[in-house]
């Protein structure tokens, strides 16, 4: 049965339906837009390396980068490349793999229903051959090499690498040129059949379409297909200590300006009821201190330690959470020391009511702005839904956060062992 929910403050209506095969479908019509954006995502990403395959008993561990490899290969069918099915209709298709998700998506302004059928069918009808798996290794190796040259990317993953002892979040999403060589057609089918089961997937469509017809079309499409029975997927993550694995690492690369990143690791093992609140707070607090209006940003700027490439971000998923901040600097050691000293001050810091009010207002504006984008709505909705939450409740949840919640978070965020530094220095043999 299709469920209809109206969100008063946002003036949006969401249609939801859990299909018989386990697939969760969400439709958010936005008739004022000219396009439609659809995303078909599985709760499967680069961290899901050790698991019990469907209808088996024992854990297996698959090569690094396999979720991303699988993402590439799903577009290729025996007789054609599925990209072309979309482009023939003027639509554009794409896909991405993150730590925890693999998602297939398209945007289109015409023939929406045909494109939705194509999206469902190509993701649910894999075709892998030995020959095409070998060919893909060359293409992905080029992609990995491209990332290897990008200093910002290396700095981000270097910082994550410093934080984690065992957790697979530290593994590069695409794997390495070496690790992908071991991937076989059989590995791909094993991962596919386990993680691409409809009960592990969500379909979200937003834009210019009529919801009743769309839901009927999706249900009819799914009824034609049969899947094995799957209860839950057993995934294994080795125990992760709350401390960082390494305090500091320096990498040499051909960059003109050094980079310095600071990582803050949080001890998150499972998803708690206050997940969304914590997610908002981490963002708001980092923003409060390190955006251009922040006092810590101001200190770094006054000491001439940063330039306008300085950035910060927070990641929070089912069993890990961390933040990374930093950027270009001519004084990497001084920047690292200053940020670490600033972070330690949080223990004894309390926000004033006017600061807290400003933080809330800013976040409100930011959330409304992010909802201008169909892509953001779809991706954020899936992110929270996979963890058991509703993205469209963010505004009311934000409203209920108290200054005490914010101060508690701030004062317990940093301890002596959860901060790390990663630096990139210009290669010494170069000028």
């Amino acid at each position: 049965m299709m469920n209809k929910q109206y969100y008063e403050q946002l003036k949006e209506t969401l249609y939801a339906n859990d299909l018989a095969n386990g697939l969760q479908v969400y439709l958010l019509p936005k008739p004022e837009m000219s396009k439609t954006f659809a995303i078909f995502a599985t709760d499967y990403g680069s961290i899901d390396q050790t698991f019990v395959p469907i209808n088996q008993k024992d854990y297996i561990t698959v090569p690094d980068g396999i979720a991303h490899f699988l993402e590439h290969k799903l577009f290729e069918k025996e007789d054609r490349d599925v990209f072309q099915d979309f482009t023939k209709r003027g639509a554009s298709a794409n896909a991405f793999t993150s730590f925890t998700k693999t998602a297939y998506l398209f945007s289109a302004t015409e023939e929406i229903e045909n494109n939705v059928e194509t999206l469902l069918d190509f993701v649910q009808e894999p075709y892998f051959s030995d020959q095409s798996v070998e060919k893909e290794k060359g293409i992905i190796a080029q992609e990995i090499r491209m990332y290897d040259d990008q200093a910002d990317w290396r700095a981000f993953f270097g910082t994550i690498g410093n934080m984690y002892h065992n957790h697979p979040v530290q593994i590069d999403i695409a794997g390495t040129v070496d690790s992908i060589q071991a991937i076989t057609k059989e590995d791909l089918y094993t991962c596919y059949e386990t993680f691409y089961h409809p009960s592990n997937m969500i379909l979200f469509i937003t834009g210019n379409f009529e919801p009743e017809n769309m839901m009927q079309l999706i249900e009819a499409n799914q009824q034609k297909k049969t899947f094995k029975t799957l209860n839950t997927i057993d995934r294994s993550f080795s125990n992760e200590l709350p401390t960082v694995a390494k305090q500091k690492t320096v990498l040499e690369m051909p960059v003109s300006v050094p980079k310095c990143m600071v990582g803050i690791k949080e001890n998150l093992q499972t998803v708690e009821a206050n997940f969304m609140q914590q997610d908002l707070l981490a963002d708001m607090l980092l923003d409060h201190f390190y955006s251009k209006s922040g006092v810590f940003y101001h200190e770094l700027y006054e000491k001439d330690l940063i330039d306008d490439n300085f950035s910060f971000e927070s990641n929070r998923e089912k069993n890990f959470a961390f933040s990374v901040l930093g950027g270009n600097t001519t004084k990497p050691d001084q920047l690292a020391d200053t940020i670490k000293e600033q972070l330690l001050r949080w223990k004894n810091t309390s926000l004033t009511p006017s600061e807290f009010e400003r933080m809330k207002r800013k976040k409100t504006g930011e959330l409304l702005r992010s909802m201008n984008s169909l892509e953001t709505i779809a991706q954020q909705f899936i992110h929270y839904k996979t963890l058991g939450f509703d993205y469209f409740n963010l505004l009311p949840i934000l409203d209920e956060i108290t200054i005490e919640d914010a101060n508690d978070y701030l004062q317990s965020w940093i301890n002596d062992e959860n901060v790390t530094v990663f630096q990139i220095m210009p290669t010494t043999e170069e000028k």
């Binding site: 003036k11 990209f83 003109s256 504006g365 409304l368």
Partner: protein, 428 residues
């Protein structure tokens, strides 16, 4: 479907463009300052966005200024410079929450326009000069920006291609300016130039959003009402004859080589062949279904990316690819073969129809983004053309295969630029 209902009105010293749409939960205000691209001014224009965002008379530090924006429900404000053909465009964008989604009685739109006006007309300055410390500091910021271009290999290769290709033209000028010219700029000369810009640049203001209860024109014109002496800008049409193709090779310590090619198209936004150029680019290299992607990446596994794009106001078509250093010869040959195939008409009517659909889709998607829509509308100002976005879509529908071959016949390969690994052999 309406592409946009843009209402243009002449104000004191500028044009106001109001676009009323229910698509977004925020309101966008965009100011554009346009001047001819010159070596003399480019570095000052590159520096200004950095200095202007450091504070105003009422909010004299960056910190205070940004806090004022945050208090205004997280308003966003940013400023940057860009090259469009032979013009330099300084753009200031402000995005604010639409009151309709908030529970406050403060008139946010009015407050935002007031703040925006202050950023432009009352920056932190005294005695005919910007703040000395801010200028010194931001010169440093810009200098670092100039230095770090080399760290992004794709943009670096693109910049170097244009350096070589347009060595004698205004378009060669780097958008971040030049370190040498930076030395001679001080708080006073920069302020003087800024006053000149405020008076003489062609100025357009765009306001976009859901204005069911706001009088946009009154609010804007009550603040933005200064006598200006705008200089008119001529759109002189340039044509080029390529006699010999330039080949440039450069080596750096990198893993992946960049092969970039520059063609002269002789077609700009105002030309009748412009819609055909868009469709041409779609068949040739604009999409994952294009010849370049299919042949360089998919059939030969030579590159992670291989694509083309065109410059609407300069008449250039640029090809980009990231390849293994040793594959230079083969990749270049395949790219040149794809262009040859375009010239010979070796593509089907179906390819043309598919590209038309993709180009139209891309246009319609762009106008679902607030800044995308404003950029598309600003094309008309830049080209001094009356072609509305809706007309462009209609004209794309009428493009035929023969039009693409006419586009192809005008294309001339000007420069091949190759950035490769040190000691890499590419002549085997």
């Amino acid at each position: 479907m309406t592409i946009s209902n843009e209402k243009i009105s002449k104000q004191n010293g500028y044009q106001l463009h109001v676009i009323n749409t229910k698509k977004f939960k925020t309101i966008h205000i965009v100011l554009k300052f346009r001047a001819p691209l010159t070596k003399e001014n480019i570095t000052k224009r590159a520096l200004l966005p950095f200095v202007l965002q450091q504070g105003t008379t009422s909010y004299p530090t960056q910190n205070k200024f940004r806090q004022a924006l945050d208090n205004l429900y997280g308003s966003e404000l940013n400023m940057d410079g860009a090259k469009k053909g032979n013009n330099h465009i300084l753009t200031l964008r402000m995005e604010i929450a639409n009151q309709g989604y908030l529970t406050t009685d403060t008139n946010i739109f009015h407050e935002a326009v007031k703040l925006l006006h202050e950023v432009i007309y009352s920056p932190k300055a005294s005695n005919g000069a910007f703040d000395e410390n801010i200028v010194t500091r931001e010169k440093q910021t810009l200098k670092q920006k100039i230095h770090s271009i080399i760290d992004n290999k794709m943009s670096y290769a693109n910049m170097r291609l244009i350096d070589e290709m347009c060595a004698e033209e205004a378009y060669r000028l780097h958008v971040h300016g030049y370190e040498d010219d930076l030395e001679s700029i001080n708080a006073q000369t920069l302020y003087q130039y800024y006053q000149e810009l405020l008076s003489k640049d062609q100025m357009d203001i765009y306001v976009l959003g859901d204005f069911s209860s706001i009088n946009v024109e009154d609010t804007i014109s009550s603040y933005f009402n200064h006598d200006r002496h705008t200089q008119s800008i001529e759109n002189s049409k340039e044509t080029y004859n390529v006699e010999t193709t330039k080949e440039i090779e450069e080596q750096q310590n990198i893993q992946q080589a960049k092969l970039h090619l520059g063609y002269r198209t002789d077609i700009t936004y105002g030309d009748s062949l412009y819609p055909a150029l868009q469709v041409f680019n779609g068949v040739f290299g604009g999409f994952p279904s294009s010849k370049l992607f299919i042949n360089v990446r998919e059939k030969n596994s030579l590159a992670y990316y291989a694509a083309s794009r065109f410059e609407s106001h300069k008449g250039l078509l640029l090809v980009f690819s990231g390849i293994a250093p040793n594959d230079y010869k083969q990749a270049k040959q395949i790219i040149l073969e794809q262009m040859e195939a375009m010239k010979k008409g070796e593509f089907s009517e179906e390819d043309v129809e598919e590209s038309k659909k993709q180009v139209k889709n891309q246009w319609k998607e762009t106008i679902d983004h607030p800044n995308g829509l404003i950029e598309i509308l600003y094309h008309q100002v830049l080209a001094n053309a009356d072609r509305t976005p809706t007309e462009v879509l209609t004209q794309i529908n009428h493009v035929a295969k023969s039009d693409l071959m006419e586009v192809a016949s005008k294309l001339q390969l000007d420069t091949v630029y190759f950035l490769t690994a040190q000691g890499g052999k590419n002549d085997e």
